[in-house]
Amino acid sequence: MEKFTPFESRMVALPRDNVDTDQIIPARFLKTISKDGLGDQLFNDWRYDAEGKPKPDFVLNKPESKACKVLLAGDNFGCGSSREHAPWALTQYGFRAVISTSFADIFKGNSLKNSLLPIVVPPDVHAELLKDPTGAVKVDLASQTLTLASGRKVHFPVDDFAKHCLLEGIDELGYILQQEPAIAAFEAAHPAGIDTRA
């Protein structure tokens, strides 16, 4: 993983509540055995018409949305299926952060493992952002600060461990594997009750 560095970007606003991962990446694109090629299918059913042509009125198809790294989303973003294809599609499109008033648990965890920062803001900040939905924001993970176009600085919460992993560009598995002695000790004290190969 690359280290998560501070950046500034304009936003793409999709202020709909309860956007589920079936919208972010429909199930029919989950037949792939790789992580690649999902960015073009991001929000497929909202983004393309029946012939597969981009719908000009959908926000991701607007010229000003190109190169935006921040998605301004509605409440409970990423609910539903546990598919990690959702953050893969979002990051492949170019997003590095999603701002919302809340995120679904599994999506939030999956995003943090893929250098996609879920930023939770209070409703009043969300409302201010929506007043200028294509405005630029600054994201600084180290200080956990979101700077709005108005200059207003907002502190956002991030799990300490996830923050450390993002800033250092390391993934969880390396840390877990370092716990080998503890895992082995646990296994020795807790013999398994099943053997799936029996």
């Binding site: 079936d22 919208q23 055995i33 059913d45 895992i183 190969r197």
Partner: protein, 467 residues
């Protein structure tokens, strides 16, 4: 010692390490693997040169992109075929036992785990699938995970997890005829909303939950994620032990007695505190149906579709209005009597033998409406064999329904079974999201009995009129 909930007891029993600012390293007793969320995880292992730490605690099957057409048929979709074959290859390479297409034990991962006796009380269970909570019915802490966590579990048999809040869902009283486990969970989600359980694990309790069979408890636990919860479970009791006893992977002899003695320690202690609670009176519940594009948009079968103009919050109002446009439904009118094109009876929510018996009891001696296509998809090949031994397949066929092979089928519509754009279904599955059953498809979620009643009339129906 502090009073603890069953959730806290299972958690505490599996803590491997708690270091510094890292989340808890939790041991996983059973890892279920399927074709869709695993290929990238196995590739990750290869890239790092890692093996699967505990293949003996890992099991695989194909279900999601797997067709439900007769088993001798080839998989027509070449991309799906490659995915199914990739799983089989990965299992071979990493020494994991797989129930592939063609096996008489293949089926939906959340159906076969309990059915084979692999899922047991007190276990931690994970799967790269959000409906893993199904296994909570057995008193297990069962968590849906993403592909990175599938890789972590394959490599280490552990996950880094933060403790969730505990959320007591108490359902007391007796269900009325025609009202089922599916209606309990749809009613809960309608009440708390699809984000209501975010950050929490549900413990379902109360007299109504206690009187449910194990399969009915699976239906309830299955849709915990639709209430936003990380997991949902029912503390084990005699119903649980009777269900597990004698199953293929269940402990036998003296080991069984020891296991039950251990499991009896799991239920929530007197006086244990929950972070949140809700109480539902089972006697007041009606058959439920969803009208919108998330599972929280549910109403009693005779209720009216809500009106966006009654909602003050602008984003909430917008989301209801958008849902009604997508579903092409008028606000303020009942759903009862709305024409349907397809009825789907199946999915990890409602494809077990008792679900099929319920549907068959309604369809027996009746015909499905000529304008409706009805798919009955057993959750596993073992459920299929049992249904056929009981003659249920004949009841479905005689009624004019299509009797299929086991798989996720029309719940996820990535396997050849799907609706046409604009079509309406009454579906016993768990999600009515836009496009979930095919691009442009419109889904009404309901119980197997409501689905069967709607299949007969060709419109959304109240099964109680047929009882």
């Amino acid at each position: 010692m502090k009073s603890r909930t069953v959730i806290e007891k299972i958690w505490d029993n599996h803590v491997v390490a708690e270091r510094g600012n890292a989340p808890t390293l939790l041991y996983i007793d059973l890892h279920l693997v399927h074709e869709v969320t695993s290929p990238q995880a196995f590739d990750g292992l290869r890239q790092r040169g890692l093996r699967v730490r505990r293949p003996d605690l890992t099991i695989a099957t194909t279900d999601h992109s797997t067709p439900t057409t007769p088993r001798g048929f080839p998989i027509v979709d070449q991309i799906a075929k490659a995915q199914v074959e990739k799983l089989i290859q990965n299992c071979k390479d990493f020494g994991i036992h797989c129930y592939p297409l063609g096996s008489d034990k293949q089926g939906i991962v959340h159906v076969i785990g309990p059915e084979l006796g692999l899922t047991q009380p007190g276990m931690t269970v994970v799967c790269g699938d959000s409906h893993t909570a199904t296994h909570g019915a057995l008193g297990a802490l069962a968590i849906g995970i993403g592909t990175s966590e599938v890789e972590n579990t394959l490599a280490s048999q552990c996950l880094l997890l933060k403790r969730s809040h505990t959320y007591q869902v108490r359902v007391d009283g007796a269900l009325k005829p025609g009202v089922s486990a599916k209606d309990i969970i749809l009613a809960l989600i309608a009440r708390i909303g699809i984000g209501g359980g975010t950050g929490s694990i549900f413990e379902y309790c109360g007299s109504a939950i206690r009187s449910l069979s194990m399969e009915e408890r699976m239906t309830v636990c299955n849709m915990s994620i639709e209430g936003g919860a990380r997991a949902g479970l029912v503390a084990p009791d005699d119903t649980t032990y009777q269900y597990v006893a004698g199953r293929e992977f269940a402990p036998k002899g003296a080991a069984w007695d020891q296991a039950v003695a251990r499991w009896r320690q799991l239920p929530t202690d007197e006086g244990a505190a929950y972070d949140k609670s809700i109480v539902i009176d089972a006697a007041t519940l009606e058959p439920m149906i969803t009208f919108g594009t998330n599972p929280g948009m549910g109403i009693p079968i005779r209720g009216a579709v809500p009106n966006p103009s009654d909602i003050s919050d602008p984003l909430e109002r917008d989301s209801l209005a958008r849902a009604l446009v997508y579903m092409d439904l008028p606000a303020g009118k009942p759903l009862l009597g709305h024409p349907v094109n397809v009825v789907f009876i199946g999915s990890c929510t409602n494809s077990r033998i008792s679900d099929l018996r319920n549907a068959a009891s309604v369809l027996k001696g009746r015909k499905v409406h000529p304008s409706v296509r009805v798919l009955v998809v057993p959750g596993s090949q073992q459920v299929k064999a049992q249904a056929q031994a009981e003659g249920l397949d004949q009841i479905f066929r005689d009624a004019g329904a299509d009797w299929r092979e086991a798989g996720c089928s029309m719940c996820i519509a990535m396997n050849g079974d799907s609706l046409q754009p604009g079509e309406y279904s009454v579906s016993t599955s768990n999600r009515n999201f836009e496009g979930r059953q095919g691009k442009g498809a419109r889904t009404f979620l309901a119980s197997p009995m409501t689905a069967a009643a709607s299949a007969i009339s060709g419109k959304v129906s109240d099964v109680r009129e047929l009882l």
